[in-house]
C-alpha cells in the first residue's frame, strides 16, 4: 500500500489547479486515465476570455501546459494512462497504470473527474455517425480527423456552439445547429462566431429522427412549440453523414458514489469548501456541478486549500483568507455567467 497525503483524481483544470496549490505543502499524486494532463483543456484550441487569474487570452491546451508546469514545480507527482478503478470510503484507491496495478491509501482525495455527456434517444440515434459533441471535438482537435463531411449539431449550449465553430473551421459543412428552446443557450460571443461562418442556428427546432442504412445519411428536423413537441407539417430533411449531440453534461460521479457520497441526482452533495459527505473526500470542477474551466480551477484551489488546512499543513488564518478569495472569485464568475445568460 502506497501512502500519499492528497490523491487528485483527474488532471483537468480542477485537478491541476488543486495539485499546483497543494504540491509544496503535501505529497500529491495526480492520476489521470489519459496520456497527457489537461483534460478537456487539451481539446480547447480557442483563446479563453475572462481574467488573467484564469489565463485570459491563452488557448486551452496552452493553459493545460502552464497548469501542469505549475503542479510539477510544486512537487506533485503524476500517474498518467492510469485508471482509478475503485475508491473506498476509507480513501483507499485502486490504480491500474501501464506498468502496475496498486492500491493507494490517501489522507485526502480530490475528485476532479469532470463531466459526462448526456445521451439523447431518438429514432436512429444508434446509427454510426451519430456522436456526442465531445467525441467530435476529440476527433477533430486531438486526432485531426473530421467526423464527416456534412453534419448537424443538436444543442446550442457553449459545447454545441464551440464544437460547431471548430468543425466549421476544420472544413466540415454544417447544415444547421438546432435548439429546442426559443433562444440560444450558450454565450452570445460563441453564437456570433458560429453564425459568421454561415451556419444557421435554428431555435424552437428539434431533431426528430436520423435515417440511413448502416450509417447516418439523413437528419429530419421540425419546428416545435413551447412544449417541445414537433409542429405538424414543419419537418425538413437534411442529407448529413454525421450528427453531433450537445445535450448537456452531468458530473462524472462514479467514484464519488462508489466511495459512498450522498448525491442529489448525479451531483455529490458537498460543503462550501467542496468536501463531500465522506470525510476527507472532495469534489472540484465539473464533478462538483457542471460549470466551466475558470470555475474549475478556482474550485480545485479551494478544495486543496481546505484539505491542506485540515491536514495541518497550512496555517488556518492564511488558509481561510485564501478560501475566502476563491469563493469571492467563484461568486463573481457565477454572477458574470448569469449576466451573460440574460444578455
Amino acid at each position: 500500500m502506497n501512502d500519499v497525503d492528497i490523491l487528485v483524481i483527474g488532471a483537468g483544470p480542477a485537478g491541476l489547479a488543486a495539485a499546483a496549490a497543494a504540491g509544496t505543502r503535501a505529497s500529491v499524486l495526480v492520476a489521470d486515465e489519459h496520456g497527457a494532463p489537461g483534460g478537456q483543456l487539451r481539446k480547447q484550441i480557442h483563446k479563453f476570455f475572462g481574467s488573467s487569474r484564469h489565463f485570459a487570452g491563452k488557448r486551452g491546451f496552452a493553459i493545460a501546459w502552464e497548469l501542469e508546469a505549475q503542479a510539477r514545480a510544486a512537487g506533485a507527482e503524476f500517474a498518467l494512462n492510469t485508471v482509478v478503478y475503485s475508491l473506498q470510503p476509507d480513501l483507499t484507491a485502486s490504480l491500474a497504470g501501464p506498468d502496475d496495478t496498486r492500491h493507494v491509501r490517501a489522507q485526502r482525495v480530490i475528485l476532479a473527474t469532470g463531466a459526462s455527456e448526456n445521451a439523447v434517444a431518438f429514432p436512429g440515434w444508434t446509427l454510426p455517425g451519430v456522436m456526442t459533441a465531445g467525441a467530435a471535438q476529440t476527433l477533430v482537435n486531438l486526432h485531426r480527423v473530421l467526423p464527416g463531411r456534412r453534419g448537424l449539431i443538436v444543442g446550442s449550449g457553449n459545447v454545441g456552439l464551440v464544437v460547431g465553430f471548430q468543425l466549421a473551421q476544420a472544413g466540415a459543412d454544417l447544415a444547421a445547429l438546432v435548439e429546442i428552446r426559443p433562444q440560444v443557450g450558450g454565450y452570445s460571443v460563441h453564437a456570433g462566431k458560429l453564425r459568421r461562418t454561415g451556419v444557421p442556428i435554428l431555435t424552437s427546432s428539434l431533431l426528430t429522427r436520423a435515417g440511413g442504412a448502416g450509417r447516418v445519411q439523413s437528419a429530419v428536423i421540425a419546428r416545435c412549440g413551447a412544449d417541445g413537441q414537433p409542429l405538424a407539417a414543419t419537418e425538413r430533411a437534411f442529407a448529413v453523414d454525421f450528427i453531433c449531440l450537445a445535450a448537456g453534461l452531468h458530473p462524472a460521479s462514479e467514484l464519488a458514489r462508489m466511495a459512498g457520497c450522498d448525491c442529489r441526482g448525479d451531483t455529490p452533495i458537498h460543503s462550501p469548501e467542496l468536501e463531500t459527505t465522506v470525510p476527507g473526500l472532495y469534489v472540484a470542477g465539473d464533478a462538483a456541478g457542471v460549470e466551466e474551466a475558470s470555475s474549475a480551477m478556482e474550485e480545485g484551489k479551494l478544495a486543496a486549500t481546505h484539505a491542506l488546512v485540515s491536514l495541518g499543513r497550512l496555517d488556518k488564518r492564511l488558509g481561510l483568507k485564501d478560501m475566502a478569495a476563491c469563493r469571492d472569485v467563484l461568486a463573481q464568475l457565477r454572477g458574470e455567467r448569469r449576466l451573460e445568460a440574460g444578455a
Partner: protein, 90 residues
C-alpha cells in the same frame, strides 16, 4: 420498432416499460429484469435514459444509485497484476 435505450445489451424502451409494468421501480431493478446497463459501458449511457422513463412513468425521483468497481472495464491480467500475497487464504 421500439427505441433502443441500452446499446450494449439491445434493450428497448418497450422492454423497460414492460419491466415497470411488472413492478420495477428502480434503475437497479430494471437492470436485473431487462439487462439494461449490464453491458460493456455498465449503463454510463443508458442509466439516465432509464431513470427518465421511471420518472415519467412513476413520478419517482430516481437517484443516481450506487456504483461498483471497476469504474472502467479492466482486463483480467491488469487486475491480476494488483494481487499481493497474504490478502486472503487460498
Amino acid at each position: 420498432m421500439s427505441l433502443v435505450l441500452c446499446r450494449c445489451e439491445d434493450v428497448t424502451e418497450a422492454d423497460v416499460l414492460e419491466a415497470v409494468r411488472q413492478g420495477a421501480c428502480s434503475v437497479d431493478e430494471v437492470k436485473k429484469l431487462t439487462r439494461a446497463g449490464m453491458g460493456l459501458c455498465q449503463g454510463s449511457t443508458c442509466r439516465r435514459l432509464v431513470a427518465a422513463i421511471l420518472q415519467r412513468e412513476l413520478g419517482a425521483v430516481a437517484g443516481a444509485g450506487a456504483c461498483r468497481p471497476p469504474a472502467r472495464p479492466l482486463d483480467l491480467a491488469t487486475l491480476a497484476r494488483g494481487h499481493r500475497e497474504g490478502v486472503a487464504e487460498r
